[in-house]
Symmetry: C2
Subunit: 365 residues, 2 copies
């Protein structure tokens, strides 16, 4: 017996596969934390249960030395200390963030990257200063089309060495709730959530909310960095340039009821009245309906008010559980009329999945 | 394409395997968080980066209603509120905890359970009240041999439905640093670390430090609950009753230097002076030596003082990195004379691994 791991040097390792999970995927899953679904019970997700994606390494940043530069196509470039940012107008907003790849590992064939099951989501109370007044102060040039947000995390992806960076169209940067955040749930940002400062863009998939922010640059042509040009796109195949992902599609998740088996996570319940509960959110509109499927019969759940306009809704439904195996499911619809699909339309990177969650449980008499 | 996961109903699923990773292991890896190895840079691990194991679901506990019962073979049974525990003598201690299964997924054949690579470790500052004075107050009967610590997490493992519970010999319960902890790093325990109260037993593998503690029972015969009798044992095979695991074996880990590739995590460095850094700990003695292997040549690293007697040591070594591929490794020795093995002796559950970590890096000129 040995203690070495097989190393996957195959250049096609990133092609979608019907094959088994790879050690690279396990390594990513052990770094990039998922929300355990029972944590859907809380309006606000504690740090450590909120999902985390770190593309490269978590940077170690001395907040005293750190500066935020705001430049490019602006009339008055700014350089700000953390203290200067903290003395600006302050706002605390609960925001639901979801990774654009959430659900990827449930697709067949399976796009090979961070292998999310369903836990790539969370809701935190972010405290920071609204971005819009800062942009007014800097004075965007009339021909600025996007802002490029660059983080301090640095590494290699797709053979390109780069700092993680993403852009946002100018029109989306002044939205209510777009924050430069320095606190999560009333505490300084944890290292893995972007200490000392991150962007938070409500309604958009999490890749937009750049962590460990070091610069904001106004640009007059659309940004073509790796994370914009190659990653985070819905492609038919590797050759398709695809469409960028942006706002979170409507989705709902169910808290697995009953008790789990340690290894299989299979759930066992007692018969009788059971409160089925979960969360639902959408980056396009407000959630207006959640239906719960019990063995194929769909019932309307009760919707609970969210903690804020950018936070998930709670939902609940009483179920009289009878002995036997049952398939539970949930399906949300938002005010734009979009509803979760029963079967997911596939794409090459496994982006923007929002298929109905299904869960088989056993009720034991 | 579908969105269903293959369900592993095979009763032999838990046998060690040379086969591919299973979806059950991925599900566990996405729930049970590892320390990203760059977080070894901090003396104290922030919540959310410290490793977490949750056997069943994270319980939701109302601390106002919660009570700790201390009973069994004692003269004066106690029932304590959280407030009562918080008004008792208070102690804050940095403690390194490691999961007994850390490194399991590196073994061949691979024991199939929570598939730890190397990140099942962390060091937090735990604040609580020492256990020993509480036991004196309750008055252990002379024939009490163990204390059984029971948590609120409830589920099924090995076909046995139970609350998670572990025992500790009476002689080990009065050790310096054995705490009933209600704070981690100066904050109330996060839900996943045992809110509102957990046991912390320095030097022992983490399964001993029972979370969501609800009762302590003095018993006059050794405890034979599932987590003691079946789990957490070093067995040759499924039939071997095996030996219980207890204290953490000497181990060291290296912070991967340079920058990573997103998917493969392969590291790339610039040539020149590079500070190799890491941590080392032992539950049996004090770490007295860390050697760093560079392409098979072993050099003594500098040992840094730990944050406390139960916390890991830092270590460092300057390396003049020359272009090419290099294999880095580290190996600790403690004051009992034990050193990490170059090849791990295998056991059925993959417990108490402490083989030398090896890492190949590329220095690019």
């Amino acid at each position: 017996m040995t203690t070495s791991l097989p190393h996957q040097a195959d250049p096609h390792a990133l092609d979608p596969t019907d094959g088994p999970l790879t050690v690279e995927e396990l390594r990513l899953a052990s770094r990039n934390h998922a929300l355990p679904l029972e944590a859907l019970g809380s309006d606000v997700t504690p740090a450590g249960l909120h999902y985390v994606v770190v593309h490269f390494d978590i940077p170690t940043i001395d907040a005293g030395q750190w500066r935020l530069r705001l430049g490019g196509a602006v009339r008055r470039p700014l350089e700000l200390t953390l203290d200067a940012i903290r003395t600006r107008p302050r706002s605390t907003i609960p925001v639901t963030l979801e990774c654009a790849g959430n659900g990827r590992a449930l697709l067949r064939p399976r796009p090979v990257s961070q292998p999310w099951l369903l836990g790539g989501v969370g809701t935190a109370e972010w405290t920071g200063t609204p971005l819009a007044p800062l942009l007014e102060e800097a004075g965007l040039d009339a021909d600025a089309v996007e802002l490029v947000f660059t983080g301090a995390d640095h590494g290699i992806q797709g053979d390109e060495e780069h700092d993680y960076a993403r852009s946002l169209p100018v029109g989306d940067t002044s939205g209510a709730g777009v924050l430069l955040a320095y606190e999560m749930n009333g505490q300084p940002l944890p290292p893995q959530h972007g200490y000392p400062l991150r962007l938070v863009v409500p309604g958009w998939y999490g890749m937009t909310s750049v962590k460990w922010l070091t610069s904001i640059e106004a640009v007059t042509r659309p940004f073509d960095g790796f994370q914009q040009r190659v990653a985070y796109r819905r492609q038919r195949d590797a050759e398709d340039p695809g469409e960028p992902v942006s706002r979170m599609r409507v989705r709902s998740l169910l808290i697995p009821p009953g008790i789990p088996d340690f290894f299989t996570r299979r759930r066992v319940l007692r018969p009788g009245s059971t409160l089925l509960r979960g969360r639902a959110w959408s980056g396009h509109g407000t959630v207006e309906r959640v239906e719960v499927g019990i063995d194929g019969q769909w019932l309307d759940a009760r919707l609970h008010p969210p903690a804020g306009p950018f936070a998930w809704h709670g939902w609940s439904l009483e179920w009289d559980a009878r002995p036997g195996d049952h398939e539970l499911a949930c399906r949300a619809t938002d005010t734009t009329g979009e509803a979760q699909p029963f079967a997911q339309a596939w794409n090459h990177q496994g982006m923007a999945n929002n298929a109905v969650q299904r869960l088989v449980v056993t009720v034991r008499g």
